[in-house]
């Protein structure tokens, strides 16, 4: 029979067994939750990162905007007039990130026009706040107030951007609209990363 029949020993052994079972159960439950959590990991819809999108801009009028569907996101392309470009400089002291230091854009768009060619603006039409699509509001001094010099207005939470996609102070959006990588040869716009070796 049991050699150590001392009740205290048996009790402490019983306690050790119970605690061991408890600890193992918790470890087991934690382990069982791993496949459940793993099954929720992002399943990237195969987006071809380098898939370029070509668009001829010769039919784009001055002041007009077209929206391209690039990788499932809207990309705004606007042919800005000289008058529109003149509105950019005076905005500078009302902007959150006028020099686009915190914002995302290729190096060639890190200027006050945020563009390769100042007259052609290419930005991803996704608000940096909570990803709504801002509306293009080139009209001056309309219902957006007397100081409005044209730009983008997000209907969801009221973020305001100028005609270079730079966010105004007082908006909930933290950074400027993102500029996607693109090439511009004459009137042919190509959205996407350049092929390796190709000159940017």
């Amino acid at each position: 029979m049991c050699s150590d029949s001392d009740p205290d020993t048996r009790l402490s052994r019983r306690r050790l067994l119970i605690h061991t079972v408890e600890a193992l159960s918790i470890i087991g439950l934690a382990g069982a939750s791993i496949p459940l959590l793993r099954a929720c990991s992002p399943q990237g819809v195969a987006v071809k990162k380098n898939a370029p999108l070509k668009q001829d801009l010769s039919a784009l009028d001055v002041g007009q905007m077209i929206t391209l569907n690039w990788q499932g996101k809207p990309v705004f392309v606007i042919r800005r007039s000289d008058a529109m470009l003149k509105t950019l400089a005076p905005n500078a002291n009302q902007l959150r990130d006028p020099l686009s230091v915190e914002s995302k854009q290729p190096d060639y768009a890190k200027n006050i026009y945020r563009a390769r060619d100042p007259h052609i603006l290419v930005v991803v039409g996704v608000c940096t706040h909570l990803s709504c699509t801002p509306s293009y509001r080139p009209d001056q001094a309309g219902d957006l107030g007397p100081d409005w010099r044209g730009g983008f207005f997000c209907p969801c939470h009221g973020s305001r951007f100028d005609l270079a996609g730079r966010v105004f102070q007082g908006s909930p959006a933290p950074t400027n609209l993102t500029v996607p990588p693109y090439q511009l040869v004459g009137n042919i716009l190509t959205l996407g990363e350049p092929n390796p070796g190709e000159h940017t």
């Binding site: 929720c40 801002p134 219902d143 207005f153 969801c156 009221g158």
Partner: protein
């Protein structure tokens, strides 16, 4: 009768009936504010039944969701009625819950010993909001899509892990089939089970500690010789009969809305959601369902991404803490001081004001002399101050002494 005896020997039927109905003693002075819990239960049952029937006709796919709802509403016999009962039922459920919550604030129903009942109720409220959001996305109209886009982008405000967390919740970089499938599964099975469980705990808790009443007096302090509260009456038949009358009146209002105001002026069914989801175009005038607009207005009031999300989260979290924020010796507003009444009124007005602001596009001024943004900031501050200042004004205000018994006798 023999069947009943056979069953009663095998299930605690008689005990259950006595414990929850015939011998469940409830204060004798409950007023109309005590009706809304019963109505919420009724509406949950309505959501469950109509929801199952809607699932019969719903296709949770990007290409099929919108058309399947349109088909169900237009072509399936009585499909329109079932969809309308579900959509209007959700709105009515939140209307009833807001009144139910207000009752709790008015009579101090969250105070000791009902803290856990309050926490369970607030938990239910939060879970129901998530349930309502999931359901709102399923018809896959353009409002549905952009609601999903914005709400599931909220975690990106968290520094560091935010982007990864949002991708993990969505199941990808953007709203996709994966997201829709998840929201569907959560809406029809996952969250309803949680709601049923929390409802059971909430009701069990109320029956264990006993219902509060407009006087805020504990009826268990004065018992008759047979151990029942002197100021209590059995739930059945007294309150079941009264609740039935309330249910009748409520159903008149409910079916009135269902038959004559099915869109609720755009509050129940939104025109922009009659357009299929378009990932390239946000509706020009976008607002969440009306019962979420006060919190949406808090988010929008702060011109900072993280700050806005924190403010909204605080607006949702602070009511949970009420049992510990309220330092008053008395429960009911009838005996609390003027400061408490004043602050409650300020909070209710601010909350309704925020709801109206949330429904209004940012660029359309509600009041002529003050901008929406500033107004929303003031109202948000007032709403939050009701909770944050509560430990002070409930401690230092002069309260009246409540009587020992309901009706002031003896």
């Amino acid at each position: 009768m023999r069947l009943f005896i056979w069953l009663a020997q095998r299930l605690p039927l008689r005990e259950w009936y006595q414990r929850h109905l015939s011998h469940y003693y409830v204060p004798k002075n409950l007023n109309i504010w005590y009706l809304f819990g019963a109505l919420a239960t009724l509406l949950l049952i309505n959501q469950l039944i109509t929801g199952i029937w809607l699932t019969f006709g719903y296709s949770p796919t990007l290409s099929g969701a919108f058309d399947s709802v349109v088909h169900y509403v237009r072509d399936v016999p009585s499909g329109w009625l079932i969809r309308e009962l579900h959509a209007a039922g959700a709105s009515m459920l939140f209307a009833v819950l807001y009144l139910h919550l207000f009752r709790g604030l008015l009579y101090g129903s969250y105070q000791r010993p009902r803290e856990l009942v309050w926490l369970l109720g607030m938990g239910l409220f939060l879970v129901l909001m998530i349930e309502a959001f999931c359901g709102y996305v399923l018809p896959w109209g353009n409002m549905s899509y952009w609601a999903a886009q914005v709400i599931m982008d909220l975690p990106t405000a968290i520094p560091g892990i935010g982007d990864d967390l949002a991708n993990w919740l969505r199941g990808g970089e953007s709203i996709s089939q994966v997201t829709l499938s998840r929201l569907f599964a959560l809406h029809v099975i996952g969250i309803p089970l949680v709601i049923a469980f929390l409802t059971l705990l909430h009701l069990t808790g109320v029956r264990h500690v006993g219902a509060n009443n407009p006087e805020g007096i504990e009826i268990k302090k004065h018992l008759s010789p047979d151990g029942t509260p002197l100021d209590g009456i059995p739930f059945h038949p007294y309150y079941t009969i009264r609740d039935l009358l309330g249910v009748g009146v409520f159903l008149l209002v409910f079916v009135g809305i269902v038959f004559f105001f099915p869109t609720g002026g755009g509050l129940i069914l939104e025109p922009a959601n009659a357009i299929p989801a378009n990932p390239l175009q946000t509706p020009a005038h976008i607002a969440p369902a009306w019962y979420l607009t006060p919190f949406y207005a808090m988010l929008r009031a702060v011109p900072d991404k993280l700050g806005g999300v924190i403010t909204m989260a605080a607006g949702l979290a602070l009511p949970f803490l009420l049992p510990w924020l309220d330092r008053s010796k008395v429960k009911s507003m009838r005996y609390k001081g003027r400061a408490s009444s004043f602050m409650l009124a300020v909070m209710v007005i601010s909350f309704i004001g925020l709801g109206i602001l949330g429904l209004t596009p940012v660029d359309h001024a509600v009041l002529p002399f003050i901008g929406n943004q500033l107004l929303a900031q003031i109202l948000t501050a007032l709403y939050l101050l009701y909770f944050l200042l509560m430990p002070l004004y409930t401690k230092f205000e002069a309260c009246r002494e409540p009587p020992d018994r309901i009706g002031g006798a003896q």
